[in-house]
């Protein structure tokens, strides 16, 4: 029972760090998916006195994907009452050219600024409309959300490290005596600390399996995917191979670090 409790406390500490890590990963994926979604629906409008060539504009920034000409017909239709065909043709020629500029990803305000400056270097471009007010608000909201989650994950990480170091002291007391006795009979360090490392590895495995089961369950529930669909994104909540490997690696690294610190701080009782 006592041994089970000792296992449980490290497993719980490891689980909390794995949960906060995976939560952070999910949030990060959601934000990236949302940014991608925004990028698809977002474009800059470029106003130019002359026709622009797409290949020249794409060269201005690696973020630019395409340049699409906007037809002036809609504007002219509203003005054409009482204007003859000849005048409309002249008006068409004298109107500036409008273009829609598509970007690879949803840009940050500084990226928009860079693109605008680069485009305005072209003397025929007279205006670049980025709709910055709406854009800035959305972007800042996303950043705020990500920062809040990062702070939360960091706080959980700190609390877990405190839990793990407390656990280390308990393990130290528990294993020191056995390691000392084994040392008195000439056991090399690897042998006297073998039990400790075995326990650390078992606990890391148990924590990973539990976290795996929980996240498999979460990812299989329809509620989660419905929530993501409602905001128009599709997110992989739990990538079985990749996420399990990351969780297992972290749990293993933490518990082996814990065991190594105990072995390094071990002093022979005489």
């Amino acid at each position: 029972m006592k041994s089970f409790r000792n296992h449980l406390s490290l497993v719980v500490a490891l689980l909390s760090i794995l949960f906060s890590l995976q939560t952070f990963i999910i949030v990060d994926r959601s934000i990236n998916a949302y940014k991608q979604n925004l990028a698809q629906n977002y474009s800059l409008v470029v106003v130019s006195q002359k026709n622009l060539k797409e290949k020249d504009i794409i060269k201005k920034s690696p973020l630019i994907v395409s340049l699409e000409s906007l037809s002036p017909d809609g504007v002219i239709k509203r003005l054409n009452a009482g204007i003859d065909k000849n005048s409309i043709s002249i008006l068409k020629l004298s109107l500036p050219k409008f273009y829609k500029l598509k970007l690879k990803t949803y840009p940050s305000p500084s990226e928009i600024d860079k693109i605008t400056k680069a485009l305005l270097k072209n003397s025929s471009i007279i205006k670049v409309e980025s709709f910055s007010k709406t854009h800035d608000t959305t972007y800042k909201l996303l950043l705020l959300f990500k920062t809040v989650i990062s702070v939360l994950a960091f706080s959980v990480g700190i609390v877990t490290i405190l839990l793990v170091s407390k656990e280390m002291k308990i393990w130290q007391l528990k294993h020191n005596e056995r390691m000392s006795i084994m040392g008195l009979f000439g056991a090399p360090t690897w042998l006297s600390s073998a039990v400790l490392f075995r326990l650390a590895i078992v606990d890391a495995l148990v924590a990973t399996v539990l976290a795996f089961l929980v996240f498999m369950y979460i990812s299989s529930t329809s509620w989660i995917s419905e929530q993501f669909s409602s905001i128009g994104i599709d997110v992989v909540v739990f990538d079985v191979l990749k996420d399990t490997s990351v969780m297992f690696g972290l749990a293993m690294a933490l518990s082996i670090l814990l065991a190594t610190l105990i072995v390094l701080s071990h002093k022979e009782e005489v």
Binding site: S3, E177, R178, I181, M182, G183, L184, F185, G186, A187, P188, T189, L191, E268, V270
Partner: protein, 223 residues
């Protein structure tokens, strides 16, 4: 006769301010049975600790089974300890291990195979008359039984040197007799050198032994 222990100008201390053993010279023949006596706090246990390398010499030289313990490295010390059996007054058994596993500890460390380990443990369990308790844990045994297990552990790997610190200090007569018989048996049958730190030498010791006495930081042989 070969010397298993040679101490020259040996000084031992736990701190720089207080020297427990002060520049002593002595040697112990291989295969001998030795008692070290002295008043409480005289430094008997301190001297014994130095013999298994738990306390390094502050000054002088201490050679045990050919290994100089001043500045000895961990691997050489481990090698020496693999050929040494130690018995403590407080038994020092591994609490979470059974009697059987505690006895087999030096055999596991020495890399003995399973069959040989099993045979040796069973033989020793018979000797200490605890065969029926082999699966029990130390806390389920009396003090005398725990010391018998510790004794069996110290003998399991047929060590060349057995060091015992007050091995019968807290024991009943039955367990004390068993312990002394095992120590004498190890000395006569296995030719192990036995060094026992004690307050009193048993009266019925029917064996040739040497007696060293520690007083005021120095050691002298009692003839």
């Amino acid at each position: 006769m070969d010397k298993v222990i040679v101490a020259e100008n040996l000084s031992l201390s736990y701190s720089k301010d207080e020297t427990i053993i002060n520049k002593v010279n002595f040697s112990i023949d291989s295969g001998s049975f030795v008692f070290i006596t002295g008043a409480s706090g005289s430094g008997k246990s301190t001297l014994l600790k130095s013999l298994y390398g738990a306390l390094k010499p502050q000054e002088g030289s201490l050679i045990v089974a050919g290994v100089e313990l001043k500045g000895v490295n961990k691997s050489k010390l481990n090698l020496l300890r693999k050929h040494t059996g130690i018995v403590f007054q407080d038994y020092k058994l591994v609490k979470e291990w059974t009697v059987e596993k505690n006895i087999s500890l030096p055999l596991i460390i020495g890399g003995y195979d399973k069959t040989r380990t099993q045979e040796q443990v069973e033989k020793l369990l018979k000797h200490i008359r605890l065969k029926h308790q082999s699966g029990k844990y130390p806390k389920e045994l009396s003090g005398g039984e725990q010391q018998r297990v510790a004794m069996a552990r110290a003998l399991s790997h047929n060590p060349i040197l057995i060091l015992a610190d007050e091995p019968t200090g807290n024991l009943d007569d039955y367990s004390s007799d068993l312990i002394w018989n095992l120590l004498v048996g190890a000395n006569t049958d296995l030719d192990s050198t036995v060094i026992v730190v004690t307050h009193h030498i048993p009266e019925n010791m029917n064996i040739d032994y040497k007696h060293f006495h520690i007083e005021y930081g120095s050691i002298h042989e009692v003839v």
